[in-house]
Amino acid sequence: MTSIHPILAYLGAAALLPLFTGAWRNRMVLAAAAVGLLIVHNLPSGTLATANFLGMDLVLMRVDGLSRVFGYIFCLNSVFAFLFAYKLNDVRQQLAALFYIGSALGAVFAGDLITLYVFWEIMAIASTFLILARKTKLSSGAGFRYVLVHLFGGLCMLVGIIVHIQTTGSIAFTSLAPSLGSWLILLGVLVNASAFPFASWLSDSYPEATVTGGVILSAYTTKTAVYALLRAFPGWEILIVIGCLMAVYGIIYALLENDMRRILAYSITNQVGFMVTGAGIGTAMAINGAAAHAFCHIIYKSLLWMSAGAVLAATGKSKCTELGGLHKTMPLTLLLGLVGALAISSFPGTSGFTSKSMIIQAAANEHLTWVLMILEIASAGVFLHAGIKFPYFVFFAKDKGLRPPEAPRHMLLAMAGLAFLCIALGVYPQPLYAILPFDVGGFDVYKGGKVVAQLQLLLFSALVFFLMLPLLKRTDTIALETDWFYRRGGRLFYQAVSAFFNGLNDMAAKVAGRAVHGFAEFCRNLPERALFLLTALNPDFWTSGTTVNAALRMKQIRDSLDAGALPVGGSLIAVTLGLAVLLGLVL
């Protein structure tokens, strides 16, 4: 038994990238992913790698039931993702993907908080390049916001880890007790889980990523966060509330959305909501359910992103208002995508049913009635938006006259592999149940009553969809989200602050200007006023006339001042007086 860290397969491939060109590079990356899967498959349980860093004992690799499930699916998904990207000729995306997937594995196998944090941040940076690689104005804006949100989440986590280590002295990445440190870590994890109200980064950024980038992104960031919740926060009741909120939020926004990949992005938040709820319930059945659901979710979600990616690659369009009628020329993409759509809706016979039922059963076992009710509503809603809306508007609805070719063979092959897994795990879930962290006991998903209940729920959802189709007509719009606060709100805040301080600045400048100007005027007029005063002291001035004389006299003084024709004595007095006044003011 070898105990090499599976991350080495991905980082090794990244190091080898410059040595390969063309198709060989794609083959090498695909082979590396397969090697990664093989390594995870052969990992023995236990603490397999440690290191000493600044006097702390880091656990670089801890393999147990929970980390193994996630390790398996991360590597398995990477094989299909690289097969999907078999013709990709962009070393930047390959490099980013390898680092991203590798660091996700690093985070999942991390046994301490420091190691977790380091891989967490590498994930954030590497994944950003999968968005930027689209090289559009929209993608660079989305990538910029994406990395800022994740750096914020990462900082929350870092502060939490520091506080946690200071108060407890432990760096172990295990179940945490509520404290300031663990709450901050939770906040950091929830940002990555796309928990409401930190969910909008996901639907903002993933749909702007490249075709391959979207497929890869859909799997790792949120699921690493789910893993962290299952590991460190099982049974934290707030997670039940957050999870239920996410499940419903995802549906509502997906129903409003026009972009097909954004619909799928919202359904990630919706599905992760189920897993977060599972983590919040925290029983063995709930943890099993959340882990199994993460496993199945990655498969069908990748499949859905692949079918959407294939459509985007073939047509260059992703808006429902611009798509439609594609079933005529892309029937295989449609059929394979439909398997994913049925699986995400947890149709009996697909993987979604065998995994989500565990979470719902866990809620029922704990008699959490309202949680159960929301999860059932969300289950029905998933079929609406991801199960029917996505395939209907892209492949059917109004024929827009697009006649793209069928997706290329490597893409179809990757989709077929994932579709096979969706059905295989739906019909025969035992291999998945066998690798779950806890013994599933006598859990039987295919009890007659459960199947009937699920079928009723889903088919009547479908009925509602088609009955209310006029209400669901697509418009070329976006829906405001919590990211309004940093996209528009930030700008408004900037404008308000700018208006206030620049206004203050203008006002201060005006006041100071007037004061200086007034003082200058005063000083300029000082000599003639002083002279006038002096002449006024002369008794002749009063005897000889009226006030008209005063004005006349003032004019004479001004003229003689301008002409420099004053008697010396008078000027001297005026200048001296003026200087004295100035001196007095200065002192």
Binding site: E376, L384, F396, D399, I478
Partner: protein, 83 residues
């Protein structure tokens, strides 16, 4: 696919009618299935026949109506965030 004979199965009015019938039919079938296997009640008020069908129907109607209502407040043009 050749241009002469395009696949237009789903465009035909006949097919559409058939699909509607199939949809209503399968809905009816799932309710009928309850005679053979009855779902386990969880909520206390859900032990009547066809509860899950009604639940799915009502839940989805409410979701669509809520989304539609929120759409009036939240929907913006796609260039909303452009400078």
């Amino acid at each position: 696919m050749s241009k002469k004979k395009e696949f237009d199965f789903f465009d035909r009015p006949k097919t559409r009618r058939m699909l509607w019938i199939a949809l209503w039919g399968s809905c009816g079938l799932t309710v009928a299935l309850q005679f053979f296997a009855s779902p386990e009640p969880h909520f206390g008020f859900d032990d009547f026949f066809g509860f899950n069908a009604l639940f799915g129907f009502v839940a989805c109607s409410v979701l669509i109506l809520v989304a539609k209502g929120l759409g009036f407040i939240l929907k913006r043009n796609t260039d909303y965030y452009d400078d």
